[in-house]
């Protein structure tokens, strides 16, 4: 099982304690501080790190060369940016932003196609162009964030996620999907004829002993893990956002035999001690 450093602590995300989240965010107020923390985590043996395409994450990937033997798991988009855009200027502002801000040369076909056909499948290359920095090492993972994954599945447009996966491969990267509805996503994949897309795919979902934010239920998700699907599985929120007993959470996760786990902490000593428990 590969162990990946999460990024919630860098951006003030704590699903259990919002105030704690805000405090840790202030510890990482520059990209240099984030970079230094990631490097320390990689040095002590973490297999890679996850980072979101928000302003700091994009800058970090654009300007930093990390240890090439380690994995980069890059998630797109930064949902709050788009949510505010829609709130302030309506749904169409999102499309107009994508068209205006993507590279004209690279996306002229996609842009024209989107305008001509109004088919949202043409949006995927535009979004990737906008959100993924050129410097992102080929072979890295690019994930779709859960707010978009789950929205698209609810809308009945899971096909756009399949398009996303295909387009990530085309760019020379490996695809990842973050979802809080892993059973629904598994059903979508079962209906897909093109099984080749599953080879490198990582599906990242909540799993913890407490069943906190594990949907539709802990038992359903455990059954999915035990069914050993043809794609890779990554567990997130494994410590129930910091509320759980860490050694027993790690024991629980280890017996699931996932391909990946991702966890974050604002203290490098905690990363080290958790890593040790995973490796024992």
């Amino acid at each position: 099982m590969k162990i990946i450093l999460g990024d919630n602590q860098f951006f003030g995300v704590n699903h259990f304690d919002l105030q704690k989240g805000e405090k840790t965010k202030s510890k990482f107020d520059t990209t240099n501080k984030i970079q230094s923390f990631i490097n320390k985590a990689l040095e002590i043996g973490m297999d890679g790190f996850m980072i979101n395409s928000n302003e700091k994450g994009y800058e970090l990937i654009s300007e930093t060369d990390f240890d090439s033997s380690k994995e980069i798991h890059y998630s797109i988009p930064y949902p709050h940016k788009y949510a505010s855009m829609i709130n302030e200027n309506g749904m169409l502002s999102l499309l107009s932003f994508l068209i205006k801000n993507t590279s004209f040369l690279k996306n002229i076909i996609g842009g024209v196609k989107l305008v001509a056909t109004q088919n949202l499948t043409s949006i995927t290359p535009l979004a990737l162009n906008l959100e993924v920095p050129n410097n992102l090492k080929k072979g890295s993972y690019i994930y779709m964030q859960n707010i978009i994954t789950d929205l698209l599945m609810g809308m009945g447009r899971g096909d756009l996620l399949i398009e996303f996966i295909k387009n990530v491969y085309k760019l020379g990267y490996k695809p990842g999907i973050i979802t809080l509805n892993p059973i629904m996503f598994d059903e979508l994949l079962k209906k897909t004829n093109n099984k080749d897309i599953l080879k490198e795919l990582v599906v990242c979902f909540n799993i913890n002993k407490e069943g906190f934010n594990v949907f539709p239920s802990l038992k359903n998700v455990e059954d999915l893990v035990r069914s050993k699907p043809n794609y890779k599985l990554m567990g997130m929120s494994i410590f129930a956002s910091g509320a759980a007993n860490i050694p027993s959470s790690i024991d629980y996760i280890k017996q699931l035999n996932l391909d990946y786990v991702v966890f974050g902490s604002s203290r490098i000593e905690n990363v080290k001690s958790n890593l040790k428990l995973f490796r024992e």
Partner: protein, 309 residues
């Protein structure tokens, strides 16, 4: 089941996705006046799209009104006229100027989207703290929603921190103390970035004698996303401090116990934007035990009007 959605902005899309995620066999119709958006949606979403409701004469099983608040009332009246069986109107139900309605007998199947009622911590408080035991209650909502002057209706009387965020807290106060008649003792309203209310402080009392204080601020740079909190003091000396994720219980400032969302471990069949949103739609399609009624929402509006004036 036939479902009609007025407006396909962020909330319309959220409710559509949740309802469709819960039951993919629902038959959706959507009113979206924007021609370009309608054209795109038609090609991408499995629903019937209309520019307005003039051609819709058959009643719907559920209607969701998720437009800007200035037209909530007009659309609600049209839905009642058509005979729609259940009508859901997004909060703040027409805004603070909407404080009185005629023909209230027709309003029994109308529900207002005060989604915080569905937060697992609020559900716990509702089940564990008796309204008649509450001595005082403080409600707060902080966010960093506004960083520049908003445009259009969001900079007018239908918006502002009271309508958009404070209304949630006022609804929760009414709901938890089970008293809809609130008297404003004093209030302070500040405009910092918008031309309307950005920061609001108020003290109130309820008809049953509960002391209430409120603080709303949507220009707070110190928070990443909106956070609410409620503090309750009971007549027998307990204090409960509640937020989205936990309830801390004290007696004379001595910590007694914590109940967190982890202990509550609420699950839903389909998740998008929080269990609260999914549970709200489940309640809407079932027995409406938790949803706010029109009467609840009108009283929230009355309280906002008193605070702002």
């Amino acid at each position: 089941m036939k479902v009609l959605i007025y407006g396909f902005g962020r909330m319309g899309l959220t409710h559509f996705s949740i309802l469709n995620g819960l039951n993919p066999n629902l038959d959706f119709s959507v009113i979206e006046p924007n021609k370009l958006l309608r054209m795109i949606l038609k090609k991408n979403i499995n629903a019937k799209f209309y520019p307005d409701d003039s051609s819709l004469s058959d009643a719907f099983d559920i209607t969701l009104i998720t437009t800007p608040p200035s037209i909530h009332l007009k659309l609600m009246e049209q839905s009642i006229k058509r005979g729609d069986r259940k009508i859901f109107v997004e909060k703040p139900f027409g805004g603070f100027s909407n404080i009185k309605l005629e023909n209230t007998s027709e309003l029994k199947s109308i529900y207002i989207g005060y989604v915080l009622r569905f937060n697992p911590c609020i559900r716990w408080v509702k089940s564990n703290v008796a309204p008649n035991e509450i001595k005082s209650i403080h409600g707060q909502y902080l966010s960093n929603t506004i960083d520049k002057k908003p445009k259009g209706w969001r900079n007018g009387k239908f918006s502002g921190v009271c309508n958009e965020m404070g209304s949630h807290i006022i609804d929760l106060v009414q709901y938890l103390i089970d008293d809809k008649t609130l008297y404003v003792k004093d209030s302070k309203v500040q405009s910092k970035i918008s031309d309307i209310d950005d920061i609001v402080e108020a003290t109130l009392t309820s008809q049953t004698g509960v002391d209430i204080s409120l603080y709303f601020n949507w220009v707070n740079k110190n928070v990443r996303k909106p956070v609410f909190s409620i503090e309750i003091e009971t007549k027998d000396g307990f204090k409960y401090v509640i937020d989205q994720q936990q309830i801390n219980k004290y007696r004379a400032d001595k910590f007694i116990e914590k109940v967190s969302v982890i202990n509550l471990a609420k699950t839903v069949p389909y998740y998008l934007r929080g269990v609260d949103f999914t549970d709200q739609m489940i309640d809407l399609t079932n027995d409406n035990r938790i949803m706010a009624t029109v009467e609840d929402a009108l009283n929230v509006n009355k309280t906002i009007a008193k605070i702002l004036n």
